[in-house]
C-alpha cells in the first residue's frame, strides 16, 4: 500500500528528501562551502518537483504537430530555466563571499566566525 504510493509518486518523494537534506546542510553544517552546497541541493529539489509535475506519461515535446494529442507541460520548464539562472547567480555570489571571508579570517567554520 505505502510502497505503491511511493512508487507512483517517486519523483515527489525524492524531491522532499532532497529538500530536507539541503535544509539540514544549510542550517546545521558549519562549513560555509557545505552551506552553499545545501543551498544548491535545496533549489534542485524544487526544480525536480516542478519538472516531474510537468511530465506526462507518453507526452510529446511541446511542439505543435497536428497528429499529436498529449504534450508535456512546457510552462514549468520555463520556470525551472529561470530558477536555474537565479540559483547560478546566488551560488556564484555566495562563493565570492566565501573567498572574501576566508581571506579576511582564515577559517570557513561558521562557529568560529561567530566568535570573532
Amino acid at each position: 500500500m505505502i510502497l505503491e504510493l511511493i512508487v507512483a509518486n517517486f519523483p515527489y518523494f525524492v524531491s522532499v528528501v532532497l529538500f530536507l537534506v539541503g535544509l539540514y546542510a544549510m542550517i546545521v553544517r558549519r562549513n560555509l562551502i557545505k552551506k552553499i552546497m545545501g543551498l544548491n541541493i535545496l533549489s534542485t529539489s524544487v526544480f525536480l518537483y516542478l519538472i516531474s509535475v510537468a511530465y506526462k506519461e507518453g507526452g510529446a515535446p511541446p511542439i505543435r504537430v497536428s497528429e499529436v494529442e498529449v504534450y508535456v507541460n512546457p510552462l514549468p520548464h520555463a520556470l525551472v530555466l529561470t530558477g536555474i539562472v537565479v540559483a547560478l547567480a546566488l551560488t556564484s555570489f555566495a562563493l565570492v563571499l566565501t573567498i572574501k571571508i576566508y581571506k579576511e579570517y582564515g577559517t570557513l567554520d561558521s562557529d568560529k566566525l561567530m566568535d570573532l
Binding site: F19, L23, M26, L32, K35, L39, L42, S43, V46, Y49, L50, V53, L75, P76, L79, T82, G83, V86, A89, L90, F93, A94, L97, T98, K100, I101, E104, L113
Partner: protein
Amino acid sequence: MDHSPILVVITPFVGAYLSPLLGLWRERLCYPVAVAAALLSLFFSFRLAGSVLTSGTIRYWVGGWEPPWGIELVVDPLSAFMCLTISLVSLLAVIYSKNFIEKELPRGKMTSYYTLILLLIGGMLGVVVTGDLFNLFVLTEIFSVAAYALVAISGKRGSFIGSYRYLILASIGTSLILLGTGYLYIITGTLNMADLAVRLPAFYDSWVVFGALAFLLIGFGIKTALFPLHTWLPGAYSIAPAPVTAIFSAVVSKVGGYSLIRVLFTIFGLEFITDLVPVAPALTWVAAATILVASMFAISQTSLMRMLAYSSVAHIGYVVLGVALAVEMGMTGGILHIFNHALATGCLFFCAGAVIYKTGIRHIDDLRGLGGKIPLTMAAFTLAAASKVGIPPSAGFVSKFYLSLGALEAGEWIFVIVILLASLMSAVFYLRVINLIFFGGDKHEVRRDELPLSMLFPIIILALGCAVFGIFVGIPLQLVEPAVMVLSEL
C-alpha cells in the same frame, strides 16, 4: 496607450545598464545617471498614481500579449502607493549617496554601487506593479541579490559575514516562495494573480492550497523579517552604507510585506484567510510578538545603527498587524504606516549616516553634545524620532492612532495595549539618544559645521514630511483609502 506601468520599472534597469558602461569611461558619470533614473521613476510613479485615482486599476499587457500567455502588470491604488513611496525614498537616498559614498567606500566601488542600487530600485518597483506570481518571484530575487551585494560592498570588517548570513536565510525564503508558486500553479494551472483568485475557491479544502499558503507565508515572512525570522536583519542593516540601510529599512522589507498582502488578500482572499484558515488572526499575534521583542532588543543596543535596525523591525510589525487585523481602520493604519514609517526611518538612517560621515561615531554614548555641532541634522533626527515614537501631531502618531482604532474595531483591545507599550518602549530608547545629543555635555573637538547640501537636502525633506503628513493626512489617504477598498472587496 499609457506605458507608465512598464516605464516605471524599466527606467532604473536601463540606468543600471548604462551606469557600468559610462563608469568604465568616467566614474563620476554614474551619479547623474542614477539620479536621473530615480527622478524619472518618481515622475512615472506620479503619473501612475494620477491615472489610478481618476480611472481606477490599470491593467497593462507587456508586449501586447494578453494574459494568460503574456505577463500582466496590474497597478491598483496599493501598487501606486508603494511605487510612490519606493521611488521617493530611493531618489533621496541616491542624492544622499554622492558625498557619503566618496568618503565611506573604498576607491573604485562607485560604479558598482550605483549599478546595484538601481537594480535594487528597479526590482522593488517591479514587485509592486506585477500581476503575475512567478514574475513576483523573479523580481524578488533580482532586488534580493542586489541587496546582498550592497551589504557586502563596503568591505568593512563583518560586512562579508553579514551579507553571507542574509544570503543563506533569504535564499531559503525564496526557495520556499518558488515551491509555493509551483503548488499554486499545479492546482490551478495559472500564475496570473487575478486568475488565481478566481480559480482558487474551488480548491479551498485542498491540502495543496494549504501547503502553498504555508510556503508563501514563511518565504515572504523571512523577506519581511517577522519574528522569529528577523535574525538576519540587524547584522545586515548595521553594516551596509547608510543610504542603502535607509532604503532597506524604509522600503525593502516593506516590499516583503507588500508581497505578503498581495498573497493573502489578492490571491487567497479575505474570506479564506480569516474564516476558513485563520491565518490573519495568527499573523496579528506574530506581528505583536515582533513589535514587543524588537522594541526590547532595541533598548539594549549600544550601536546607533543596530538600535535603529531593531526599531525598524518593530515598525514592520505595526504594518503587518494593521493589515492582518482585516478591518477597515486597521488596514488603513497599516498601509498608511508603510509611508509614514518610510519617511521617519529614512530620515533617521540618513542622520546616523551623517554622524558617521562627520565624526565616525557609531556608539550611542559617544553622541554627547552633537546637537551643538550639526544642529539642523540633529533637529531632523528629533523630529523623525518623534514620528517613530508617535508623538502628536507627527505622521507616526496618525498611523498608530488608526491602528489602535482598528484593533478596537476588531474587538482585539489587547493589541491597543501592545501598541501603547511598544510606543513607550520606543520613547525610552529614542529619548535617551535625544537627551544625550542635546543635553549630554560637550566633549567633541569637531567644528560647528553643517553637512554638504546633497546630504542635508534629503534629511530636511524627510523630516519635514514627518511633520507635514501628520497634519495633512488627507494627502496619502487619497490613495490608501481606495487601496483598502480594493483589497477588502476581493
